[in-house]
Amino acid sequence: MDTNEILVLTVGAILVNNVVLSRILGICPFLGVSKRIETALGMSGAVIFVMTLASFVTALFNRFLVTQTFTINGTEVDLSFTRILLFIVVIAALVQIVEILLKKFSPSLYVSLGIYLPLITTNCAVLGAAELNADASRGLISSTVFGFSTGVGFGLALLLFASIRERLAIARIPKAMEGTAIALVTAGILAMAFMGFSGLVK
């Protein structure tokens, strides 16, 4: 894998096909933990960490289990239908293992990540990254790079959004539009602006 491919993967995942603003994945934490910049940064760090790891591990499973054909009792079995099922279980297990390890070896990081780490289990952006990797049949290294960049893209969108929301908290927003409603309008305008990056990578 050459530097050009890495550049295409990174720019594509961070700007052009931003996981939140273009693919509309991971909206729940995007709206849920974007009220303050500090919590948004904590969540971004956790997501980047888990997404990179999960992309690598799911790529391993995809390579050596899902795309293989096994012969059991003389019948050929194609396991590709188990992909989503397997990925969800793998990601959930991975998050649990990371949580246990962090609690044991780095209690300070564990405390600072707090509730966000277990929340990532149900973050569809992580599953989305794994699925996109499997769809594009990327190799182990490309998958990991893609997972990392997708996490960075998520972090960028979350940080931008959190800083705007801190300002919106003191704006005179009409009662009917307060909270999630105006947040979604803001996200929509931001998503439109990010469409300007289309065509940067083929």
Binding site: I37, L159, L160, S163, I164, E166, R167, L168, A171, R172, I173, P174, M177, I182, V185, T186, I189, L190, M192, A193, F194, M195, G196, F197, S198, G199, L200
Partner: protein, 350 residues
């Protein structure tokens, strides 16, 4: 003593008529309406140039956008039972800037959708003037460009009225990309002069760099905008495209071509400098202008859209709270530990 005062014609007010109030006690009469009127005066050269080059098309679009914006704002204040705000001219300013951003072939419904989007969605839903995080005109242009790419790219050569596609200077770049000779031809002096005066295809108000420059200098003379924003934006574009042009002459024409074409001028002076959606400090303004410049160059040179100014302004608007956070003016004797100590005392950090 009192005789002396009478002699100097200094009349003290009657003690009973003194009004007790908090500061400020002296006000120079400035108001939103007066600021917006000054902006309108500064927009006049660009408006005149658009009418000169695009004749009736420009008049039509200007009237449509201005009236739709005013109606949208009046309708909103009526529906939400607020005091009417159209008297502060801000809706009129948004309408005129939006009109200057539309192509000469724009149909009436495009003006209507753009105006309603700018006033209702981008401004009023966020709480009205002064509360919106995004520039209404820039966001409306982005929305129209994304939603109605066809009508938004029906360009006409000036004063002829015949609609042709892809006749803008920036569209020409994509057409001849890969040829260093063609790029050098685009950057030829007589071609640059045409761009400077505005006798080229494009949105009705963005073609004449000269007219916008006159208005922009007026804005600076009135002290309505931070000069750091247009300076940083134009300088960044100049340096960025200059380096790319030197490194790969076949990829993009020289820096002057980029500065004079498309929406750089109107964006730099009239849209990026919006008081509400730009950073507060001078340093922040420099960073803000630089971000817009870099994003514009990236979208123009490598992106699918030929023009990236409005996209860049909206993205940079989103960055403003972060820029403000990082570029606040530090008081004399400031230390990072003094801030954290303050926060600990307030109980924000444990």
């Amino acid at each position: 003593m009192s005789e002396e005062i009478e002699k100097n014609n200094i009349a003290l007010p009657e003690p009973g008529s003194l009004v007790l109030s908090t500061s400020p006690h002296v006000q120079d009469g400035d108001s939103i309406a007066r600021i917006m009127a000054k902006v309108l005066i500064c927009l006049l050269p660009a408006v005149a140039a658009s009418i000169w080059f695009f004749r009736f098309d420009a008049v039509r679009i200007l009237v449509y956008c201005a009236s739709f914006c005013i109606f949208a704002e009046y309708g909103w204040t009526l529906a939400t039972r607020q005091a009417a705000t159209i008297g502060d001219y801000s809706a009129l300013v948004t309408g005129v800037i939006l009109a200057l951003n539309l192509p000469p072939g724009a149909p009436w419904w495009l003006c209507l959708i753009g105006s309603v989007f700018a006033i209702i969605v981008v401004k009023e839903l966020f709480g009205g003037l002064g509360q919106n995080p995004f520039n209404p005109a820039a966001a409306a242009r982005v929305a129209l460009l994304v939603g109605f790419a066809g009508p938004m790219t029906q360009w006409a050569a000036p004063a002829t009225g015949s609609l042709v596609s892809g006749a803008t200077p920036l569209g020409a770049i994509h057409a001849v990309q890969g040829s260093a000779d063609a790029m050098a031809q685009l950057g030829a002096p007589d071609n640059l002069m045409k761009l400077f005066l505005g006798n080229v295809g494009g949105s009705i108000g963005e073609t004449s760099a000269l007219a916008i420059l006159i208005g922009g200098l007026g804005l600076m003379a009135f002290r309505l905008i931070k000069w750091q924003i247009p300076l940083a934006m134009i300088a960044t574009i100049f340096v960025f495209t200059g380096i790319v042009h030197l490194a790969a002459p076949g990829l993009t024409p020289g820096p002057l071509y980029h500065i004079l074409s498309g929406g750089v001028m109107i964006g730099a002076f009239f849209m990026a400098t919006d008081m509400v959606t730009s950073p507060i400090t001078p340093l922040g303004a420099l960073v803000f202008g630089g971000v817009i410049g870099v994003l514009t160059c990236i979208i123009r040179i490598w992106g699918a859209y030929p023009e990236g100014v409005s996209f860049s302004i909206v993205i940079a608007n989103a960055l403003v709270p972060l820029i403000d956070r990082m570029c606040y003016i530090r008081p004399f004797g400031w230390h990072s530990h003094s801030v954290s100590a303050l926060n600990i005392r307030r109980g924000e950090i444990k």
